[in-house]
Subunit: 167 residues, 2 copies
């Protein structure tokens, strides 16, 4: 439970900050963000289907994907990777198709905690307090929580498969 | 004088907003932002030299340029164009090489005012109040003022050249 998501919505400034620890090395957590075939297996809450149009996790790359929820409604998300540094840092823009031009930035820091553990920290920056408040009340916290649980499960199954392979 | 820059640094939120009118059509002002050969003639304060590494003003494009001031010191500026819509809107990230990873967003709106006039509005979003305050006290206002005066002079000389051509 110590790995649970801690999300902060500070008063008066258009930010959302969160962090999450993982019982996996930073390289594994980074790779789960870098490889679209892995991203497709964890990004978003449980019960959603993701269809990745493109996802080019490198400095200057861009992404577009669609999430379809249990109700069959589909949402587009797109942005650009301003900076990507392996096992260290990523900065991307983020736009939800339902609110065109209301674009935010996500600063993601990947930290090695030693002992095969790591921490992900995020600083999200919105163009207005209203946009931030809208995002905070959109189910972002539960969506992120479930997504990172899925990421952990994915890393667990990958690790298990590797162990199996060495038997 | 009615065309002078109006810049606002609001209390407590990490934004800088500014607007500037031009006695030129929106298409001209947009083109001065879109064509790197024109950008090189006005972007930055007087007395600076700009060297454009690349400047690809389209959705998903990126830019990198260096400004060299009268003291010979060179500064890198880089970012990515999240959105570009002709004669209407551009959203870009902005990073000054002196403060790596302190990236901001600039929302630029190009408005047709009729009668051959136009307005440029900008909403700049910083990842912290400290970053915003640092930018506001860096000579941004005078740099922008002089840059847009140069842009206006450039459009004046272009218009004059066109008139000459039709004689």
């Amino acid at each position: 439970m110590s790995n649970s998501l801690r999300l902060t919505v500070p008063d008066g400034v258009p930010f959302i900050d969160f962090e999450r620890e993982f019982d996996y090395p930073v390289a594994d957590v980074f790779r789960a963000h870098a490889d679209p075939a892995l991203v497709a297996q964890w990004l978003g809450p449980r019960g959603t289907n993701i269809e990745i149009d493109h996802y080019d996790f490198r400095t200057g790359g861009s992404y577009l994907y669609h999430h379809t929820g249990p109700d069959g409604v589909s949402y587009a998300f797109s942005g650009i990777f301003h900076t990507v540094r392996k096992d260290d840092f990523a900065l991307q823009t983020f736009e939800f198709g339902g609110y065109p031009d209301v674009v935010s930035m996500e600063f993601l820091t990947f930290e090695d905690l030693g002992g095969g553990r790591s921490r992900l920290r995020a600083h999200c920056v919105y163009p207005s307090l209203e946009a931030r408040d809208g995002m905070a009340s959109s189910g972002m916290e539960s969506g992120l929580s479930e997504g990172y649980e899925r990421l952990e499960e994915l890393l667990a199954s990958t690790a298990k498969a590797s162990e199996g392979a060495t038997l």
